[in-house]
């Protein structure tokens, strides 16, 4: 018997050693049955285990991803050198334009504030946000999610909205100490209450994996055309209203397909936002997210 095989069977009494493979198989089968039972009856236990294990794996993921990040940054640096002059010129023009927009925005914000005070309007704007880097593209054929480098210690809580510069990309579903899982819009179990901007018709956007997301539960007489903008409707208490989601891509009979603005491919940075949606139990009492002291979050 080889040293490895001899070592394995030392834990069993000598009478049971001939049955070691069968005992091992029975043990694993029982463990799998237990796990699958927990999936059905006590899913929260497994979620807790999973976030704990991801926290343990986070340093390894960072280690494995470090060479790729370094390579990517180096290649970007070389590309940037090539177009520095051009970028400088276009950024000067953009700054001049933005300065005039800033003045207009300041004026409008002041006017908005005065009007809201007059109407006693309860503000539901974002109260805090933090930016996190995507650490791992966690997902199989049917689950689409990413793990980000921000967790409870950074102020992340469950159901925070995940945004990119283009629009909604998902929401936080699991939170560990050092990391969090963001369910992406193209996951099969993702559901988002939306409305069509032009017609104000409401629907539920649902993920469809590699295919385009679909809009479900539109009214039978819905007047939806390709190109119409899709925004969040604010129903459900997780996503506030009027966040950009995408556009109607195609209408095939009763099936409506959406083209999201934010796409999960090449997703590297996400912004996690906590919105103060009025009337939602627990949201107002949640501790606001403190901006994390990470390089991505510095102005």
């Amino acid at each position: 018997m080889s040293p490895a095989a001899r070592k394995k069977s030392l834990f069993l009494p000598s009478t049971l050693r001939p049955f070691a493979p069968q005992i091992s198989l029975l043990g694993f089968a029982s463990l799998i049955l237990l796990i699958l039972t927990l999936n059905v009856f006590f899913p929260q236990v497994l979620v807790t285990m999973r976030v704990g294990l991801i926290d343990l794996l986070t340093p390894l993921l960072q280690l494995v991803g470090a060479p790729g990040d370094m390579l990517g940054n180096t290649s970007m640096n070389f590309k940037d050198i090539g177009r520095l002059r051009e970028e400088n010129e276009s950024m000067r023009k953009e700054i001049a334009e933005l300065k005039s927009w800033r003045d207009a925005a300041t004026q409008l914000a002041q006017e908005n504030k005065e009007l809201k005070a007059l109407l006693k309007y309860k503000d539901d704007s974002a109260i805090s946000f933090l930016t996190a880097r995507v650490l791992a593209r966690a997902g199989g054929d049917f689950t689409k999610s990413v793990i980000v480098t921000a967790g409870a210690r950074d102020g992340v809580i469950k159901d925070m909205v995940a945004l990119t510069e283009d629009g909604v990309i998902g929401r936080v579903i699991e939170v560990g100490e050092w990391s969090a899982r963001v369910l992406l819009m193209n996951d099969f179990s993702f559901r988002l209450p939306v409305l069509i901007e032009d017609t104000k018709e409401q629907a539920i956007l649902t993920g469809a994996g590699e295919e385009a997301p679909r809009l479900l539960y539109l009214p039978i007489d819905a007047n939806v055309k390709p190109g119409m903008q899709i925004l969040t409707s604010g129903h459900g208490g997780i996503f506030p209203p009027y966040l950009p989601v995408g556009r109607v891509a195609e209408v095939k009979g009763r099936e409506v397909f959406a083209a999201p603005y934010a796409t999960p491919e090449r997703l590297q940075i996400v912004r996690l936002v906590q919105y103060n949606i009025p009337g939602v139990t627990g949201k107002a009492e949640n501790k606001p997210a403190e901006p994390a002291a990470t390089p991505e979050n510095k102005p």
Binding site: L36, R50, R137, G139, G140, G209
Partner: protein, 170 residues
Amino acid sequence: MQTLPQKLDFTLRAALPPIMTLFFILFAAMPMSWAFLSDLVTPLAFASVCFWVIYTPEIFGARWSFFFGLIQDVLAGGVFGVTALAYLLAERVLRHQPPHLLQQSFGIFWLLYALLAVCAGLIQWGAASLLLRDFAAIEPVTLRAALGIGIFPGVVFILSQFQRAFIGRI
């Protein structure tokens, strides 16, 4: 009686197959610039498990197969335990083949791997369908299985070179 250097040598060589498999799992989870690249590297872990079960059966058995299946489930966020079940079943099927048959005949090994890859995909499809309470799309599963079957010869070649160079016979 083994000396300390011999024990250390054995331990390090025995740790290499699990380390490589873990590396494949973590590498497949990295965000990549091109979607096709991530599709290509995802089947590496399953191919690695099947390879080590055949070529280093004394050190890579049910425990490691189960453990790496769980790691996949932890990262994927799907039904916990499904990938562990698929890996364990693959390990059991491979173990019950005639000794040295799969090592000596790559064609049979490849064919068996193809069947196992399809079965593993179907297990995950079934679990996803149960979770969604509806039939999930079968295309992602078939694509992933086809990619895995396609890259398997390359994976076996690389791992067998590695095994001959660093692990040898344990």
